[in-house]
Amino acid sequence: MRHSILLTAAAIALLTTMSGCKIVKNPDPNAEGAAPANQTDAERMGIYAREIWDSKVLPAVATHLVPLSDLRSAQALDIDAAGEKHGMRPDGEANPWNFAVAGTGTILEANTKSRAAKLKVDTDADGVPDVIVQLGPVIRGTAIRDAMPFIIFTNFRDQIEFAKLAGGLNAIAHDRLTIPEGDLTGMQVTFEGVFTFKNVTTSPEIVPTKLSFGGQ
């Protein structure tokens, strides 16, 4: 059954041009041309994550990108409406919204020693951090995966494979960052990235897809 779905998907893939094609490449190890079966889920999903990063993930972020301040204004009026307008989320009851946001601010705290390195950033110049930028290598959550409209849980074998995909995407987000040496506190940072919305009082924990550092 699964095999015939794969073959059908492969046939359709051959008949369509790759650009704008919505078909998700199925990561099943048995698929023709796919990686060897002795790869772990993490390895296979890591390869898939790299395949889609530039061609699909970054364009999806760009398409849905909203200035963080605009999002906050919209959420102050109506959280659900802001989600409908700017957010992305998978099917299911009460799944949280994910947002792709852009912003800039001052780094008030920089923990770059930890495996879960992060910046605390003040984007509204009130002297208090209101955004956390996750630098990794350990990046929490599944925001990038869950924000991607073309990534559908049904197309994956199970939650384990799906979790490894989230990890693979987070790993690439980390790999693509260039973090300056030395103390970052006080520097300006401009970011684009994705976060999973919890509530208006919890600082967004952004997984950056683009990061640049300015002067003091």
Binding site: G92, N95, T142, T154, Q159, A163
Partner: protein
Amino acid sequence: MNTNRRIFLSGLASVVTLATTKASWAEGKGLIAILTPSHDNPFFKAEAVGAEARAQELGYETIVLVHDDDPNKQSELFDTAIARGAKAIILDNAGADATVAAVQRAKDAGIPSFLIDREIKEAGIAVSQIVSNNYQGAQLGAEEFVRIMEETGNYVELVGREADTNAGIRSSGYHDIIDQYPDMVMVAQQSANWSQTEAFEKMESILQANPDIKGLICGNDTMAMGAWAALEAAGRSDVLVVGFDGSNDVRDSILAGGIKATVLQPAYRQAQIAVEQADKYIETGSTGLEEKQLMDCVLINADNAADLETFALGA
């Protein structure tokens, strides 16, 4: 009621275990079969109760059956549901691989299946697979575990039944967090097959081999309860225990200062959603949703345990 029961029993070719048999004609929208593991675990009972209540509200008859995590018994129960002409099957299944054939058989007989809690390893056979976001939930539990362990110390992990995807995904979620902390040292990792008695026995022997443990993280609440009993019996109620499920038993233990935390799976609501999707599918031919859906879990500790009742968080 008695008549229905007699008809039902006489319709059974082979005798199967019935947790309860309830039938009500209501508005005659047909029969929904609800299959879960043993109700000895209150988690599965909550699923069955939630599904049954919603199905009857929507005007269906129900039969509630338990497969005891035995794929052969589950297969017989599918035959029962098919023979009874069920309009839909609500299923918490007996194995990610072993269940595929049974769900396919029902589909071939024109009966859609709506899965809760556990996935199967094929898509396109069941109409819905609604599962808790175990990875997200396990990360919540692990973060709390690391916090109360103060990021350091020896710990033990009891994992669930290996054939169940949820055992693997929870362990994976735990370790993706805990392994970031080099001073957290796992001294034993064993499966207690989701079982309270097995967890009690495993914990007793683990404790003998590793008396210097500070924490225990478990793949579900029944194992946490079993292990906690063993720890208490050994005078080791200082061990920090975290479970998974959000059962009333663990809630009570948390409120009494015993087990420290668990992760709520919204089992009752999940079962109701499955019935609602079944109803929509029966009436319109589509649920309008993707087959596989995740539901987020919620951390339960002393702060919010009092609001927990039967796998649902109140106000």
